[in-house]
C-alpha cells in the first residue's frame, strides 16, 4: 500500500533547467490553452500528425523521460479504451464487420483511433505543464493571469493561495498516511483482509489521527503565516517576480503559428 501511494505521479514536478522549464508560467499556461484549442480543431490524421510532432518536439526539449509520460496516461487506460470502442461501434458508414446488434464501420475505426490519440495527446500535453512548472510558479502564473477578475470581486489571490497550500500538502499528507498505517500495522491492524465493511472499519484508526494531524498542521500554518504578517494579497510583493523574456514571446509566437496552421488545415478539410 505504501509503495502504491508513493507511485502516484499525478502532476508531479520534475526539476530541470531546459528552455521549457525556464519559460514564464503564464506563457506555458497560455500555450497549453492554444494547444488544447488546436487539438480539438484538428480534423483528420494530417492535423493529428502535425500536433503529434509539436508535442514530441516539446517533450524532447523538456528532457522529461518518455517512461514517466507513459506512466501518467496509465490510470486513464480504461477510459481511453471505452472511448475508442464506443466510437468504433457507433459511427455510421461503410460496414466491415457485423455480429448480433453490433457493427464495426471503417469510419468508426478511423474515428476511434483519432479520438484515442486525441485524449492521449491531451493528457500528455497538459502534464507537460505540471511536469516542467513547480506548483508555486504555476499558482503565481494563474494568479497573474486571473488578476483581471478582481474587478468583478473574484478573490483571485485567496483562491490561488488555497491552491498552492493544497498542492504543497499533498505529499506531506501521503507521507503521514503511510506513517500512521505502519504504526497501526505494528499494533496488529490489517487493512487488506475481510469484506468491504471490515476494510472500511479498519480505516478508522488511520483516518482519525490523519484528520487530527491535518487540523493541527492547518492551525500551525495559520499561526506561522500570521506571525509573518500575512493578511491577504493586498500590497503583497513577490520574491520572484514574473517577467516575460524574449523566449516567452518567441514561444507564444510558435503557439500562435501552430494554431494558425491547424486552422488553415481545417479550412482545407484536413
Amino acid at each position: 500500500m505504501a509503495a502504491v501511494l508513493k507511485d502516484i505521479t499525478l502532476g508531479q514536478y520534475f526539476p530541470g533547467n531546459t528552455v521549457v522549464h525556464r519559460l514564464d508560467p503564464r506563457t506555458k499556461i497560455i500555450m497549453v490553452v492554444f494547444y488544447i484549442i488546436s487539438l480539438f480543431s484538428a480534423k483528420t490524421y494530417v492535423s493529428y500528425c502535425f500536433m503529434a510532432i509539436v508535442l514530441f518536439t516539446v517533450i524532447k526539449l523538456s528532457k522529461i523521460p518518455g517512461k514517466t509520460l507513459i506512466k501518467s496516461v496509465k490510470p486513464l487506460v480504461i477510459f481511453i479504451g471505452i472511448t475508442g470502442v464506443l466510437n468504433m461501434f457507433y459511427t455510421p458508414g461503410q460496414e466491415l464487420l457485423r455480429f448480433w446488434i453490433f457493427k464495426i464501420t471503417k469510419e468508426g475505426i478511423i474515428k476511434g483511433i483519432l479520438m484515442v490519440s486525441r485524449i492521449i495527446m491531451l493528457v500528455m500535453g497538459t502534464f507537460m505543464l505540471t511536469y516542467t512548472t513547480s506548483p508555486i510558479m504555476l499558482t503565481d502564473g494563474l494568479e497573474s493571469l486571473l488578476a483581471p477578475l478582481k474587478v468583478i470581486k473574484v478573490p483571485v489571490h485567496e483562491l490561488t493561495m488555497i491552491m498552492s497550500i493544497a498542492l504543497r500538502f499533498v505529499p506531506t499528507l501521503i507521507e503521514e498516511t503511510e506513517k500512521i498505517m505502519n504504526a497501526q500495522k505494528a499494533r496488529g491492524a490489517e487493512f487488506d483482509t475481510g469484506g468491504l465493511i471490515a476494510k472500511a472499519k479498519a480505516l478508522l484508526p488511520v483516518l482519525v489521527p490523519l484528520f487530527i494531524s491535518a487540523f493541527r498542521r492547518a492551525d500551525e500554518l495559520a499561526v506561522a503565516m500570521e506571525s509573518r504578517c500575512y493578511h491577504g494579497g493586498e500590497g503583497r510583493t513577490k520574491l520572484k517576480r514574473l517577467k516575460l523574456m524574449a523566449r516567452d514571446y518567441g514561444a507564444l509566437c510558435c503557439g500562435v503559428l501552430v494554431m494558425t496552421t491547424i486552422f488553415v488545415l481545417r479550412s482545407r478539410g484536413l
Binding site: P65, I180, Q184, A186, R187, E190, P205
Partner: protein, 289 residues
C-alpha cells in the same frame, strides 16, 4: 549460552528501485540480537536507522537478505509476517500522533484486540501495560486527546507494550520531552525489560542515554553498520564518531579536554558517575603526593 531471537542477514533495502529517485537506505546489514539484550542504535539523520527497524517487524520487506525470528524467515508466509507483529513491538517516533480511540483504555486495547484475545485477557493486558508506563486507572475513561504530551506518549507506548512483545523497538522515544519525562520513560522501559526479560532496542541520538542504559551499541552510518560493541568500545573511538557527524557523551568530551591539558584519566569515561570516580581517584592519589 545466549539464544538468538532476531537475526538480520545481509539485509539491503532500496527505495523506488528503477526510478530516478532510487535510494539505497540500508545495505548489507548483519545484526544478531539475543534474548533480553538492551541495544542502543545511534546514527545521523538519514543513516538508515528508521528503515532498519521497520524491517524488524516486517513492515518493509528487504530488497535482498533475510530477517529471522527465532530462526524462521518472517517473510516465508503471510502467517509468519503476522506473527512477527505480535512478537516484535515497534513504537514509532512521536507515537502520540497515532492515538485514535475515544478512551485511553480502548486505545491501549487496540493491539491485544487485533491479536483476537478474550475480553478478560485484553483487560489484564491493558492494566498491565498501563502500570508499566505509569498511567493510573483513573485516566482509563478519559479521551487520549485531553492528556498532556508526556501522558499521550505513555499511552501510545502502552498500546505497544500491551501486545507483550519479546522485542520492543522504539524510535526516539524521548524526542520532544523534558529531561524528567525522558528519565521516567527510560526507567519505565527498563523495568519492562527487567521484569519480562524482553529485548529492548532504542533508536536515539542521545549518546548519554544510550551509554547509560544500553549494554550494546550499534552505530549506523550511510546505511551500514559502522560500529557494533559495548559503549566502552564505541566511545573509545571518538574521532571516528565525530567524522560521522556524531557526538560523544559530554563526559567523554570532558575527559578529552582534560587530556589535552595534560590531565590523563584512565579508561573510558561516559557517565557522570565514572567521571566522578576517576577524578576522586586521581585527586586522592596524585595531587597530594
Amino acid at each position: 549460552m545466549k539464544e538468538h531471537i532476531l537475526q538480520l542477514e545481509n539485509l539491503s533495502h532500496v527505495y523506488s528501485q528503477g526510478t530516478p529517485f532510487e535510494l539505497t537506505a540500508v545495505k548489507d546489514i548483519n545484526i544478531t540480537i539475543d534474548k533480553g539484550e538492551v541495544i542502543g542504535i545511534i546514527g545521523h539523520t538519514g543513516s538508515g536507522k528508521s528503515t532498519l527497524i521497520q524491517h524488524m517487524n516486517g513492515l518493509i520487506k528487504p530488497t535482498s537478505g533475510r530477517v529471522l525470528l527465532e530462526g524462521e524467515d518472517i517473510f516465508s508466509s503471510k502467517e509468519a509476517t503476522k506473527r512477527v507483529r505480535s512478537r516484535v513491538g515497534l513504537v514509532f517516533q512521536y507515537p502520540e500522533y497515532q492515538l485514535f480511540e475515544e478512551t485511553v483504555y480502548r486505545d491501549i486495547a487496540f493491539g491485544p484486540k487485533n491479536l483476537k484475545l478474550s475480553e478478560k485477557q485484553i483487560d489484564e493486558r491493558v492494566r498491565y501495560a498501563a502500570r508499566f508506563v505509569g498511567i493510573s486507572e483513573e485516566l482509563f475513561e478519559k479521551s487520549p486527546f485531553d492528556l498532556s504530551g508526556g501522558q499521550k506518549r505513555r499511552v501510545a507506548i502502552a498500546g505497544v507494550i500491551a501486545m507483550m512483545p519479546d522485542v520492543l523497538v522504539l524510535d526516539e522515544p524521548m524526542a520532544g520531552l523534558d529531561p524528567a519525562g525522558c528519565r521516567d520513560i527510560m526507567n519505565n522501559l527498563m523495568s519492562y525489560h527487567d521484569e519480562t526479560g524482553s529485548a529492548l532496542i532504542i533508536v536515539t541520538h542521545s549518546m548519554e542515554t544510550a551509554g547509560e542504559f544500553a549494554k550494546r551499541m550499534i552505530v549506523m552510518n550511510r546505511g551500514t553498520v559502522a560500529m557494533d560493541g559495548t559503549p566502552e568500545e564505541i566511545f573509545s573511538r571518538g574521532r571516528e564518531l565525530r567524522q560521522m557527524g556524531l557526538n560523544v557523551p559530554t563526559m567523554t568530551m570532558l575527559k578529552d579536554a582534560l587530556s589535552e591539558r595534560g590531565i590523563e584519566l584512565p579508561g573510558t569515561i561516559y557517565t557522570v558517575e565514572q567521571m566522578k570516580k576517576a577524578l576522586e581517584e586521581r585527586m586522592g592519589g596524585g595531587s597530594r603526593a
